[in-house]
Amino acid sequence: MHSRAGAGLAAVVALVTAAAACSSGSGNKAAQATTSSPSAGSSSAPIKVGLIAPLTGAFAPLGQGDEQGADIAVSQINQSGGIDGHKVDLIIKDDKTEPTQSVIDFQALLGQGVTAILGSSVSDSARAVAPKAEEAGMPYISLSPVDQTVNPVEPYVFLVPATTPTYTTRLMQWFHAKGITRIAVGYDNTDIYTTNGYHSTLNEAKGYGVSVVDTEVFQTSTTNFSTIVSHVGASRAQAFLVWSTGPASVILTKTFAAAGLATRMKLVMTTSDATTLYTQPAGSAANGVVMTAALGVIASALPPSPIKSEIGMLAGPFAAKYGGEPSEFAADAYSGAEIVFAALKEAAPGFSHSAIQAALNHLSLLTPDGKYNYTPSDHSGLTPDDVAVIVVENGAFQPTAWEKSQFATLPS
């Protein structure tokens, strides 16, 4: 017992010393940056902006996109001289797709004196951290498509991805234009984005003369959709609207195609599937599938326009550095970063949290994700015109005929 306690005590003393050393290290940083502004004496001290992203864990592909988009935005602004003469220092934290870790990351960023935080695209992380950011008066720009983030509006919390009501309205406009009045709806009840999407659909359908004739529920982990597809096939639906993410979307699409339903019913997916992570595995089953997406996804089909140039500011460097098209997540992070920079410009030279928040509250900015018009009562900032209704053709995303007819009202 004595030798064990002795060895153990030695280990713990070592741990405690290490922990104290780590904490005094970050403690010093906190002391230096208590006012979150570059220290008065130095006119070129960098402005710190935090990014919490799922770099590891189940949502690592999302985190990778977040990191890429934010990184390009920061390089661009620094190459053009920074903000008010100060370079931007992007501090990235990995939340491991875990809400507990995201809280630790938030507090670390708080201690490091960041001016604003771009929040994790993981909905669990966003819902754990947003209230804490609000409490700390830290501007939090969320990259996670969670409607509740801005409903009700919290003074310091802003949203980058569009809300499900916005996506739903755009889809309803399309249903109306195509004369579709009966739809089936399927949704993943384990995900907040998809569950919100379902409720938004129920709320808005009637207003567009659309009735929901069948509802199907599944989980992100569901692998067998034959029962669901046969129910939908037996219903009188003209379209099957599916709020889903990940592999479930692919399997459902293939089951739908294999059942031969594509000839008499439209399969409509949502923005979460506007990625090659969906079209590649789904293959030919995805042909003709309609979905919502950010305008950046169909950039090459857009007429010359301010939004097309804006998208190009991301797409060009992205293709050069990483190859291929930027994902939805890269676009969200890039747009979020642009929003933060615009607010920082206005909050110069103090860059205080309250000045940044005030700037955000009347921000009007065109980004690859669309035209943001934030107001004190609207922290989402986007409208249905910022959303595109696209169709998959031979693995590529194209605007639907109806979307092309809407090009006159592109955001600018």
Binding site: T100, A108, T190
Partner: protein, 356 residues
């Protein structure tokens, strides 16, 4: 010496930054859970790959009750009680299993519970609970991290004292007999089934109260907060320093928590390549577990003690070579593809005889 450690750990929160204070609190909560798991795995010889489920049950009990108006303190008291009750009920069928089967049954139980929560709106469904109130009595709520840190410190001390006394007591000795051989224990009159259930329920209670404090501190709970990875992390914490050891579980929790945070920090330092976070979090962590299981199956501390005893003039303690059954079964899983060695004269090696 122990008093020095207690004093040092009590005073440490005063110097920690906000983020490190959160790590300290989580470390303490995981330590409490790990001590319970160490009892279960080391003393009672039962493997659990789903111990985080009781942490989750404690958290959800506290969250649901307090969001429905019950006092947070009362909710915190009920959290371990409900977790223990669930363990007592589910333990009846589950604890009849052994080795790999028991391990997978506990894992399956966690997945089932998470699935039930996801599909039950009353329990928050897949969306979970935000705005869980902070711990408090009446108008006074515990709002500072420092307060939670000391509460966690207090809980850890109480749990350690209780557990250390339990191990030294008569029931504790009976439990140790259980871990070595259930048949032998039964033959000297140890009520095996009842004891296993009791330890299972006690370990669940430890996890439950830790989960309760967790949810009041973090203020958010969803199925995604309690993944299987957490259960695996708890097993690593228990295994690394020695099964059945209360101090081992404490140091394991501290060591793994700090290590995970250090790996997390290093991976995202400026200038690190993009693959670094993935490399550090998976490769480094997995490597540690494999090394420990293969070469130091009784844990780091007993392994170090054996090495120390093997020095010239040292005396080796035969008891220290004992490998607890759960680690023996993990080890056999890893070694089952290697050819067994026999001695030159054809007789089986001690390795072979022992494995029979």
């Amino acid at each position: 010496m122990i008093l020095l450690l207690a004093a040092a750990s009590f005073l440490l929160p005063l110097w920690l930054s906000s983020a490190n204070l959160t790590v300290y609190i989580l470390l303490g909560l995981y330590a409490v859970t790990a001590i319970g798991l160490s009892l279960l795995m080391g003393l009672a010889g039962q493997v659990s790959l789903g111990q985080a489920v009781f942490f989750a049950i404690g958290a959800y009990t506290a969250a649901v009750l307090s969001l429905h108006g019950l006092s947070t303190v009362v909710a915190l008291v009920l959290a371990p009680l409900l977790a223990a009750a669930v363990a007592a009920v589910v333990g009846v069928p589950i604890l009849r299993l052994r080795g790999h089967h028991l391990a997978f049954a506990t894992l399956a139980f966690q997945l089932i519970v998470l699935s039930v929560i996801t599909n039950t709106p009353f329990l928050g469904g897949g969306l979970g609970f935000t705005a869980v109130p902070g711990l408090g009595i009446g108008k006074a709520t515990l709002s500072s991290s420092l307060g939670y840190a000391w509460l966690t410190w207090g809980l850890t001390v109480v749990v350690m004292v209780v557990t250390l006394n339990l191990i030294r007591s008569r029931p504790g000795r009976a439990l140790r007999a259980l871990a070595t051989s259930e048949a032998a224990a039964e033959s000297v009159g140890v009520p095996v089934v009842r004891y296993k259930l009791a330890v299972f329920a006690l370990s669940a209670a430890y996890a439950g109260v830790a989960g309760g404090i967790y949810v009041f501190f973090i203020g958010y709970a969803s199925p995604g907060s309690f993944p299987v990875e957490l259960s695996v992390e708890l097993v690593v914490m228990v295994v690394i320093f020695g099964l059945g050891s209360v101090w081992g579980a404490l140091f394991g929790a501290a060591g793994i928590s700090v290590l995970m945070q250090v790996l997390n920090q290093v991976g995202t330092l400026h200038g690190m390549p993009q693959y670094m976070p993935t490399l550090l979090s998976y490769a480094a962590y997995g490597l540690i577990l494999v090394v420990i299981v293969m070469f130091l199956p009784a844990g780091v501390l007993p392994g170090l003690r054996r090495l120390w005893a093997r020095r010239p003039g040292g005396r080796e303690d035969p008891m220290s070579r004992q490998i607890a059954p759960p680690i023996a079964s993990l080890r056999s899983l890893l070694r089952s593809t290697r050819p067994k060695t026999t001695r030159a004269d054809g007789t089986p090696s001690p390795e072979q005889t022992r494995r029979q």
